[in-house]
């Protein structure tokens, strides 16, 4: 099961991970009203598609009028075969540092894997931190902080705290993949999840009834065979 950004972010928020203030809008006028409350904002098409920035699905607005225009342009269109039925209007967040963080099922270790990689410049796409977890014992923020590479961030405990919460969210919801890209450090020293990609194991749908009802339609999926 794959989920659009705002569903994933609601789970992050429940887990105590900061996400930007935002409102979901199903009509351009709702986006306009949200922007009037939020100020400078981002209008984001809620489709389960990667690289939405370059596909025109994420647009920056300085205020309500611009947000209205963006929402008008996005709602009812399709991105990679997925219909845009709502947009997330979020307050703009400027970061002093940005990373990518994820927890994934790792076939190599047959267990969960916490990954942190770089964005931009020399570290673009480079894996900076890789921590396999024994799923029987999980991991604590202290445990992560102790093994974060020196120099990765100025204040390791804050990042470790977010990664531990990300891991708990991945476990609680039977995720195959829970990725935050980018995870931005604000000038106030807080890590904020600016995006969220969530894929939950179909096999676990029976014990994730709330999520099963929220899964995005997989209209654009191209999958040929494999398996038994």
């Amino acid at each position: 099961m794959i989920f659009v950004e705002h569903v994933g972010k609601s789970l992050l928020r429940e887990a105590g991970i900061d996400v930007p203030a935002g409102e979901l809008a199903k009509a351009p006028v709702e986006a306009e009203q949200a922007a009037a409350r939020l100020g400078a904002c981002v209008v984001k098409a809620q489709v389960p598609v990667g690289d939405r920035v370059n596909k025109g699905g994420i647009r920056f607005a300085s205020g309500a009028a611009e947000a209205l225009g963006h929402a008008h342009a996005l709602l009812g269109t399709e991105i990679d075969g997925h219909g845009v039925r709502d947009v997330l209007v979020e307050t703009q967040v400027s970061g002093v540092q940005a990373l990518r963080a994820a927890v994934v099922d790792d076939p190599e270790t047959a267990g969960p894997l916490i990954l942190v990689s770089g964005t931009g410049g020399d570290t673009e796409g480079v894996t900076l931190f890789r921590l396999p977890i024994d799923i029987r014992f999980g991991v604590t923020a202290d445990g992560i902080a102790a093994v974060l590479p020196p120099g990765l961030v100025e204040h390791p405990p804050a990042l470790a705290d977010v990664l531990a919460r990300l891991y708990e969210t991945y476990i609680r919801h039977d995720a195959e993949l829970l990725a935050v890209d980018p995870l931005a450090l604000t000038t106030e020293g807080r890590w904020v999840a600016l995006d969220c990609k969530l894929v939950v194991d179909d096999r676990a749908a029976f014990r994730q009834p709330r999520l099963a009802a929220l899964a995005a339609p997989e209209t654009a999926v191209v999958a040929a065979g494999g398996g038994a």
Binding site: I2, P48, A102, V104, D105, D106, P107, E108, A110, G111, P112, L113, L115, S117, G125, T127, R130, D134, I135, R136, I171, D174, E176, L177, A179, V199, D201, R203, A204, F206, R207, V221, V222, A223, A224, G225, G226, G227, A228
Partner: protein
């Protein structure tokens, strides 16, 4: 994992429809079934073998080498942990659709105890004319005829096709291992390769690469150290369905072309049809 004729097998979920059907088939083939479990209903007998409430109870009265899991996907984690904690060292998990986090938990627990898991979602293991554990038509002579070729496949379906092709070409099969089509499995292709490499009855190995797992380099690395020849058939039509959404840097599955290239670089002969694979193996080992 290879199951030999004398090994004692405990069928967990023996009273279910699948458990009953396959227990009869396994026993008739020569697999030594020591009994079964039926959660909450121990004490009686089923198919002329004792039934216990748990693997822990079973191992108090019988020596068990292999636990074959025929329980539901939801009950698999508890059953597998029961088996591992009862000291059983080989776990064959036939059940499909086991939640991946449960599979990871089972595998972690098994590894810590020195046990090996085949699957989840494995069609099982066949040691031709000795024993089989799982859901394979080992008893069908057109599919499994004794010989010297070891076969590794993810799915039982691919294993049957490969074995049938080899048998039609006049070759025979020493052992077959289905590693399972689930995204996370306890026995990888590499592990299965090691098992067949050390199996004295196996002279050459047929690797049916229906893709996935992202472990091709590991497999290729081991293959490059082997004396026994390995011939691979890579199904180009098969795509890794699992990673359709989950693709992420650092944990990607490979496409068939990359798999084939990695194996070729390791000295493995890669063929594009099962018939070609049979031909290559024929020229290596001759008629069985």
């Amino acid at each position: 994992m290879i199951v030999r004729s004398g090994m004692g097998v405990l069928v967990m979920g023996i009273a279910g429809e699948q458990g009953t059907y396959w227990t009869e088939k396994m026993a008739a083939y020569g697999t030594r079934i020591v009994g079964g479990t039926d959660s909450g209903r121990g004490g009686g007998r089923h198919l002329e073998v004792p039934v216990w409430a748990s693997a822990g109870e079973a191992t108090r009265s019988e020596s068990v080498d292999v636990a074959a899991l025929f329980v539901s996907a939801q009950d698999t984690k508890a059953a597998a942990l029961d088996a591992v904690r009862a000291g059983i060292r080989k776990i064959v998990c036939v059940t499909e659709q086991v939640p991946v986090h449960d599979a990871m938990y089972i595998i972690a627990e098994a590894r810590a105890a020195g046990a090996v898991v085949l699957g989840p979602g494995s069609a099982g293991v066949v040691t031709t004319s000795e024993a089989f554990v799982g859901v394979m038509p080992a008893f069908d002579k057109r599919v499994f005829s004794p010989g010297t070729i070891g076969i590794i496949a993810r799915s039982g379906r691919h294993g049957i096709l490969a074995s049938q092709t080899l048998v039609q070409a006049g070759l025979g099969v020493s052992a077959f291992i289905a590693i399972g089509s689930d995204p996370i499995v306890g026995t990888t292709t590499r592990d299965a390769l090691i098992a067949l490499d050390t199996d004295p009855r196996t002279r050459a190995i047929a690797l049916i690469g229906d893709v996935g797992g992202g472990l091709e380099e590991d497999t290729a690395l081991y293959a490059s150290t082997m004396e026994k020849p390995v011939v691979a058939y890579i199904d180009n039509a098969a795509a890794p369905s699992r990673r359709r959404h989950g693709s992420y840097a650092g944990a990607d599955a490979r496409c068939p072309v990359e798999t084939a290239a990695a194996l070729r670089a390791a000295g493995v002969q890669v063929t594009e049809t099962l018939a070609d694979m049979a031909g290559q193996l024929h020229s290596i080992v001759g008629r069985a």
